[in-house]
């Protein structure tokens, strides 16, 4: 057994919340630069030029890449041999979010009740997903999620008979409906299988760079096929028309029920923030 004081979790979450809002992970920023060279439309090029300049300005001057610094989604993969000390783990995560968003000059975008809508003023609570894994380490992934694109995400309960075409149409329908509202070029996370809520979590993990161990070889092929299909829609950067509508498609799968084919499509804008560390 390994003891970990939860204050270590707080410190890590604080640092990750601010870092990832100023600078994207290299895999994401490289996709935006690459998109610029692939775009043909005049307005599309102009939008992508601005996005490239924006990334530089954010990094150099420590201004958030986007003013919607998101609701903090935190994945904790906790080794079974770990014993947390010093307080409750979820309190520690929320304290990290509180400090990161306050000390990092990030926007406080969380309201305490969906109807009363009073701002909590410290961006807590986070949405925390736990999983127990082998070992004595804790892997933390912080993925602040903006809501322009979150609002355009959908879960489809397809039928087994719909098969691969059911997945294809779910992804394309969600992307087309999202259109300009989701700040294209988008990044598309897809969860296939499980139950209603499992599919949604799989899709969020796909955005955060957490791959499902269940993915079969068809997954990578479908990702590539769907990226091409999305980039044929003509939505383009900013939704103003053009080639680059999506930067990437990531799919995660899980076993499901004999009667079902859940497909969750979690749409993210080009500011797909995710950062991980291991303690």
């Amino acid at each position: 057994m390994r003891e970990i004081n939860v204050s270590e979790i707080t410190d890590a979450v604080e640092q990750m919340c601010s870092d990832i809002n100023y600078e994207l992970s290299p895999d994401m920023s490289e996709l935006i630069v690459k998109a610029r060279s692939e775009e043909n439309s005049t307005l599309g090029k102009r939008v992508l030029d601005m996005l490239c300049e924006n990334l530089t300005a954010a990094k150099e001057e420590k201004i958030p890449i986007c003013q919607d610094t998101g609701m903090a989604v935190v994945f904790l993969e906790v080794g079974q041999e770990v014993h947390f000390t010093g307080g409750m783990i979820e309190d520690a995560v929320n304290e990290g979010v509180r400090r990161g968003y306050t000390n990092g000059y990030l926007r406080k975008s969380v309201v305490a009740d969906p109807i009363d809508r009073v701002n909590t003023n410290d961006n807590t609570p986070a949405v925390v997903h736990y999983s127990i894994v082998p070992g004595d380490e804790v892997r933390i992934t912080v993925s602040p999620k903006g809501f322009g694109s979150e609002n355009m995400s959908q879960v489809f309960m397809k039928k087994p008979a719909d098969g691969m075409d059911g997945i294809r149409s779910a992804i394309l329908d969600a992307v087309k409906l999202a259109g300009p509202n989701a700040c294209p070029p988008m990044y598309v996370g897809v969860g296939v299988g499980g139950t209603f809520e499992k599919a949604a979590i799989l899709s969020k993990q796909a955005l955060a760079g957490i791959a499902s161990p269940y993915n079969k070889p068809w997954v990578a092929e479908l990702e590539e096929e769907m990226l091409s299909a999305i980039n044929e829609t003509g939505i383009g950067p900013g939704g103003l028309g053009g080639r680059v509508t999506a930067l990437g498609v990531k799919i995660n799968t899980y076993p499901t029920h004999i009667a079902g084919l859940p497909v969750a499509v979690n749409i993210c804008c080009h500011v797909n923030r995710h950062i991980s560390t291991t303690i």
Partner: protein
């Protein structure tokens, strides 16, 4: 076509803007999003005095991140205009001429734009750090309790936007 215009826009400025034009705006505009729109909309419906005079103004749908010490404002890109569609026709009827956001507008907003000779611009979503550099002044006007959603008056210089719906109702998102 690229245009450089000063706020408040005159009727003849708006007349000459065509959907798809890139426009660089300079001057003063208000900043308001969901919660502030709801409050003002409720005042309009109750026939009560409004905290700001809406005649001829430009409203930027935006909620900035906090300013670091020494900076005018934090990250300051557009939010989705579609969420303001419920309120926008009443705002247009009360004098709003220019809206800046991103994303699609409803048929009701389109009708309001045509009727009131307004214009809807899209700013580039997710470019808030860059756009903040065009903002030279910012002050809270009312609803400070709303935090990031407070109503602000900002001054901009060559703030880049794309005409997404001109005063004739031509919609850029229906073309693409």
């Amino acid at each position: 076509m690229d245009k450089y215009l000063t706020l408040p826009l005159k009727d003849e400025d708006i007349e000459e803007i065509n959907t798809g034009d890139t426009v660089y705006l300079s001057g003063e505009m208000y900043v308001a999003r969901d919660a502030a729109h709801k409050r003002i909309y409720d005042l309009i419906n109750d026939d009560k005095p409004l905290p700001v005079d809406l005649s001829g103004v430009c409203i930027y749908y935006m909620g900035p991140s906090p300013a670091r010490p020494g900076r005018v404002i934090g990250s300051a890109g557009p939010t989705t205009a579609t969420r303001m569609d419920k309120y926008a026709p009443a705002f247009l009827d009360h004098g709003v001429k220019v809206m800046i956001g991103k994303g699609r507008r409803s048929d009701e907003v389109r009708d309001g734009i045509i009727k009131n000779h307004g214009v809807y611009f899209a700013a580039v979503g997710g470019a808030g750090a860059l756009l903040s550099k065009c903002i030279t002044a910012s002050e809270i006007v009312c609803y400070e309790d709303l935090g990031a959603e407070a109503v602000r008056r900002i001054t901009v210089e060559n703030f880049p936007v794309i005409a997404a719906m001109d005063c004739r109702g031509n919609d850029i998102y229906k073309k693409s």
